[in-house]
Symmetry: C3
């Protein structure tokens, strides 16, 4: 019913260039609202949005909550330990109950890949994936891309390197899909044990040397190392070893000192990223956080059936 | 000051037929709001409602919160582990403090029977019982009755069977009081160890065979088996045994295939209720959830002094 | 930019008499709103306030949340266990991220003295200290002082005794600074192990006998004994011993039966304060709770740049 082809935001895989551009342009308009003294529009007044977080999250939840409140939606939060909803049946019952309370949209984070898609099969509500296991985290991908466009302009042919734990990485995957659709040249870089086999099939370059990624890139998206993944898999290097070989430091950036630095946060300072780089002139990390609210406002607005926002409306 | 005789909603015991009908009719009007694109009315704007949940609850809490927000009230949530407020004194201090913050209404769930009534002795605010131990859960009773009226019309002479753990059951008790006041013919059914002695004094029939209840009833209200009650009491059968003798299955319903199926949720599928029945044509379980929001809106509205809602107002 | 000299509320130390009086007078105006049927003003509509509670708190958090909602601000709550933000760096990252979401004001409770001040060095937002370790709890001090002024009039020369654990006491310290600035005559009283050396330098009298404090005072501010401080320090008496020597009882108050009784709550009844005193005619404890919401509204309003409130505006 809206201006987008998609009815839900489950991932960036398969989202058309047109839809991506519409979301990003709308987010730019909402971004202006965030700079005003009154950061609120009545767009979603009387709509109810349920935030279902079956996995811990502070930033993403707060960012969605702010986006919802600034659109004047009513929100209910629903946090559940994974255990009580670990069975698909129970998840289904939970969300069908919530929908029966006449919810318009559901924002869902869940540890199982495909959880958001599964919800679209149980519910009539609009579903927005806020991270489903190792699969996708599309609003993170969008906010990264929004920040890149802001700094680099049209992404056609721009060189973006994603550094870190690509195998586990829903952030990596959403970035790859979105960036490729917009014509960017993408490289992934990390220890070989953390890069999925056949990732080249997604049209990305692969490198196992961070120096090569730095030299290649207009922007580096440095992913957070999930400390909990270290235990006993044997696949994961120690933090010290990781920092030694893949840590992004001022020293290493001498090859390409102006490369843009992105990071989805929270940063493990001194592991994947050194403090002077995180806080340096080329870092756009806090810009990403601001854009996160704007992108989520745009997604909520457009998926609720809104038209592209013109300047007069805002 | 309002149109109701009651000033608080502590239980359905003793609530007059007139008051029940006023609440149910008002809930029907609010139900229409829930089907609109904008599900919000300014009725309780500037009122503050405190949700005090001293016992875990997700559904009931979310349902009340949605009802409050859709009436434009401000809400504060207050969850406490039972331990920190286990002594009456402390509960009193807690709620008097909250009231001193100038709260208009208090929604309270507590593990002690009588907790809500006790609050009316400490506070001037309007109190709504959201479940007090094994005593009553009046808004659950009201939403069950609203759903029954919607499907069966006037409940005078209608046959309703409540199946399950009647002894522990605040849902059972609230249903019995409300249904009897409206002239329904009520049967309770369960293992003899789970049916209180002398329950016949409330004017209900008793059966120890689920087949008898199914044959009797226009509607079955199948209660959730509280898994935590199983441990070591000796009174409680195993889940397998319970399902074998009291589980409501398609096979068993052959005696009376069109009987309405209600369940307060969350369902233990395969224990008290089989999935194909829960999701079948005669199930009104999700209808109950929707009606729960409407009934709570009606109770909050009427107890805050609101008049019966006419169509023009909505 | 506002009418106050201070830009943040980090403590009452150094806050001028003028600023104190402006806050207290504005709070009196807001107090009137709390007595109305509609307890809400549109003053902070479109502003976003983040409540960052890195330490457990129910009352203070709820009081701030109510103050914010009654000013029509949007709020986000952020609770964190101390451990995840125990390092300064991480706290800084956390709050800078939150600020990047375009927050206007931050209310912060943290176990480290100086945490709120530290935030002013990292952020552009207005910071309000809701308790920083053993340092200050300025809104508690303000609500105590507001209540004292309400009952005793101008505090110049009035005699106020603070009884209890002065060494640990952020409530004591904020009271001392504010009361001294307003010209009150302040005495602190408690076991010698719980009174900091050199406290006389703040211009207060010291007593180790509660009878002396009772005799001296127009009002007693009886502090809560932190039960968790008892373990093994050797400095802290048993509760029984504490009650025996410092407990404020009806019997002890015979020396000065009309002395006003304040307590920041929650009360350990029978330890620092007996029930018949806490609930007696001279107790203004619930008054303090109401004033707490009004004072927090005033602080939020004035620090957001608001002018002194006139009667027409309210």
């Amino acid at each position: 019913m809206g201006i987008l082809k998609i009815n839900h935001l489950l991932g960036l895989e398969g989202v058309s260039q047109n839809d991506l551009i519409t979301i990003l342009d709308t987010a730019n308009s909402f971004r202006q609202i965030l700079e005003r003294p009154v950061k609120k529009v009545p767009t979603l007044r009387g709509k109810t949005i349920a935030n279902l977080f079956f996995e811990n999250s502070t930033r993403t939840r707060v960012s969605f909550e702010l986006a919802e409140k600034r659109l004047s939606a009513d929100t209910v939060n629903f946090s559940a330990s994974g255990s009580s909803v670990s069975k698909g049946e129970t998840l289904k019952d939970t969300v069908r109950n919530i929908e029966a309370m006449k919810i318009d949209m559901v924002v869902c984070r869940h540890s199982s890949p495909g959880a958001a898609k599964y919800l679209t099969e149980c519910l009539d509500s609009v579903i927005i994936n806020a991270g489903d296991g190792s699969h996708e985290h599309p609003t993170q991908g969008l906010l990264d891309i929004m920040t890149l466009r802001e700094k680099l302009g049209d992404l056609e042919g721009k060189k973006i390197a994603i550094v870190g734990d690509i195998a586990f990485g829903r952030v990596a995957l959403s970035n790859i899909y979105g960036l490729k659709t917009l014509g960017a040249d993408v490289m992934v870089c990390g220890p070989s044990t953390l890069i999925p086999r056949n990732i080249e099939e997604l049209g990305v370059k692969v490198s196992y040397r961070v120096e090569e990624a730095i030299e290649f890139a207009d922007a580096l998206n440095v992913l957070r190392i999930q400390l909990e993944r270290q235990n006993g898999t044997g696949l994961f290097p120690t933090l010290r070893e990781y920092n030694r070989f893949f840590g992004v430091s001022k020293e290493r950036l001498k090859i390409n000192p102006d490369v843009l630095i992105l990071h989805p946060g929270p940063i493990n300072r001194g592991v994947e990223l050194d403090s002077d780089v995180a806080d340096g002139n080329s870092s756009v990390i806090l810009e990403q956080v601001t854009n996160g609210v704007a992108v989520r406002m745009a997604v909520l607005y457009l998926l609720s059936g809104g038209q592209e926002v013109t300047d007069e409306q805002i």
